[in-house]
Amino acid sequence: MMDVGRHPRIKLMAYSEIEHVSGFIGNFHVKVRKKARYVDESECTACNDCVKDCPVIVPDEYQQGLSSRKAIYIQLPQAVPSAYLIDMENCLGNNPIACGKCLDACEKKCIDFDMQDEIVNLEIGTIIVSTGMDVYDPTEMDEFGYRSFENVITSMEFERLICASGPTEGHFVRPTDHKLPKKIAFIQCVGSRSEKLGRNYCSNICCMNTIKDTLLLADHYPEVESKVFYIDIRAFGKGFEDLYMRSKESGVNYIRGIPGDVWEDPETKSLNLSVEDTTNGKVRIHEADMVVLSVGVEPRKDMKPLQQLLTLSSNADGFLLESHPKLKPVDSPTRGIFYAGCVESPKDVKDSVTQASAAASRASIILNAGKVTIEAITAVMDPDKCNFCGVCSRVCPYHAIEPADKKSGTYPNIIQAACAGCGTCAAECTMDAISMRHFTDAQMISQIDSILERNPMEKVVAFACNWCSYAGGDLAGTCRVQYPTNIQLIRTMCSGRVDEKFVIHAFKKGAPIVLVSGCHFSDCHYISAVQWTQRRVEKLWNRLERLGIRPERLQLEWISAAEGQRFGRVMRAIEEMRQKVTEEEVKETIEILKKEEEKERAKKVKREAALQPAAAV
């Protein structure tokens, strides 16, 4: 921590938040709000004089609320930067009648009640997201009585109680009587591996953390009897099994089974736990003076705004999705942004440090290169076809299209470096004025034609987005998930690229079923492009219905890169639908669409004819 504070090339901005991020790899523009501390960070010597005179007492968050702090405070003794700050929510304010005592106490005059938040603009090449995780709050789990029974604590509270810099200066005591508990029960997997709580994942750190805790107790207080109630002990890392064995050898009793109920003896404030030992099926009541809930970790609850600013997606558990689980585990799907630590998945210190070094190394590659190439899949504009409708700039998830202005004759301007190539603008442009490099209309149509060239009745034309559905299809392959051979994929970068005319063209060419598939809304790799896919498909369903074509023949599915099994299921279901489409139905569809096309053409001719004399005038 100290090294960060004194490193000449690190500018530490503590008590600061990211307000806005724009730009792209190599060229991010970041706005940071440096919140007012009301104490001059560079002048404060952490002498503690101000604290003595502050009359406000509030729970100390750092000590997990087990002790108190003042309204002017330092977060922890070893804080970096080593400077105090005023918690304005609780401060009585700089009113001589009310308070202002700290001002008088501070000899160096570091306190400034008029300090304002400061906005700092940064030009950044690459970003590492290391925002960490939250610790699970077990209040909702009634069976364990956390917050009802004082001697039921969490593993985080345990840390503070056994720590020399903690509220009890390392004397491990029960909250109720401040005496050393003789019997301690640890309950594992609290808030982890529970379908009931919707938290299926293993939090990764809690088994080893409890093993560590039992060893600390055995070391400091050999007379204390520890029991650990668990589902499995996952001691998979280097040196972990050793620690587990040491813990067992020190006399810790490991019992396979999670208590169904915990209740308090109102007199002694000790706890009773009823547990089925799953190794022999016997239910027993265990007594303990103190219960430690080994709580899991969870994604940060305040992560959403930053996630949106950086266009990052999360997986089903809420941790951020990496670019590739095996080959690019540190890269985010947004180029130039990397992950370090628990933001990506629960990790212990060693794994966090490992990933942090990996992220730094990945970021260094870009910084050292000094330049990056942008894949040539961006949108390009043909001004001759543009009618200034403005839809392209409205739908662009990256705000990469500067809007058109008919009055001044300014055409929409596509900022190449900001365009990510989702193709939503091209699909939404009714004038075909925008084309996607490497995913042109002609290229897409040629694929549709080719799929339907031989035995069209047996084919399913399926559009799949590069990041999720197509990757889900690949995962189905890797997992050898079997499905019918009739499905043929057309890869687009995003489902937002799938133009209405592609779908209609496929039906015109005799497709019995068309599938559009993309990322789940929360996973969209192009921020919000997938919502345009949904709208467009809904519009198409209406159009098909109006024309007397069964809308069910156009299917829309969200399949993530992690859903190989689901990919197989969807494909089997779609193939069943295909078998129900008859040749007559397809023929009829082709006739209907031909008629519609003729009508549209006639309308267009009429419209143009009507415009002609006006233009002449």
């Binding site: 750092y62 212990d348 079997q482």
Partner: protein
């Protein structure tokens, strides 16, 4: 380039038995020869390995290929490999297309060998159809601001910031709380070393 006559090369990969165990790659190669504009077809055991790539480079020179289709695995794995390969042979890397006959064919239709072979033919034909329409593209190059931002000053953020700074880069470390340290600063000892967390 627009007026140039299309000369497409198709390279069908066995991927050992990954593809050839299910799909009759010889039949797929034969079928590829019948497709319009295809002037060279080569079957390989492992197209992505050096000998396979050399075959592609050789064929580009020998047959003056101006489009290349590789029927093998997913583009997510080897599109960059083959783009680079054809670029080394002097072709624009965007004149390359892939038919995914492994992840989306041989591996998912293992019990239907004939149908899988049929589908592999379709997939090659689809790729060739797209290849006809491909155009050379130039990748834009943009400069990089040589400054890193680390968001979050827990143990991970601290490590990343120090590594980057030690490597000579300017780093901004933004932390929401008044002090860096994160969750780790609230721990007493840490496993497996059982030493102090701060």
């Amino acid at each position: 380039m627009e007026e140039e006559k299309l000369r497409i090369g198709v390279f069908v990969c066995d991927c050992g038995l990954n593809i050839a165990g299910t799909v009759d790659t010889e039949a797929v190669a034969k079928y590829s020869e019948t497709l319009d504009d295809v002037v060279a077809v080569v079957r390989n055991k492992y197209t992505c390995a050096d000998p396979g790539q050399n075959e592609i480079k050789k064929a580009i020179k020998e047959h003056q290929l101006n489009r290349v289709v590789v029927a093998s695995c997913t583009p997510k794995i080897h599109e960059p490999t083959f783009r680079q390969c054809i670029a080394e042979a002097g072709l624009n890397p965007y004149l390359y297309e892939m038919a995914n006959i492994r992840e989306q064919c041989s591996w998912v239709h293992q019990d239907e060998k004939e149908k899988a072979t049929e589908k592999a033919m379709d997939l090659v034909r689809n790729a060739v159809a797209r290849a006809r329409m491909l155009e050379p593209q130039m990748e834009a190059e943009v400069p990089v601001t040589r400054t890193a931002l680390v968001i979050g000053g827990g143990v991970a953020g601290i490590q990343s910031a120090l590594d980057l700074a030690d490597a000579g880069h300017q780093v901004y470390l933004v932390e929401k709380e008044p002090s860096i340290g994160g969750i780790m600063a609230a721990l007493d000892k840490t496993y497996p070393t059982m030493d102090c967390s701060i």
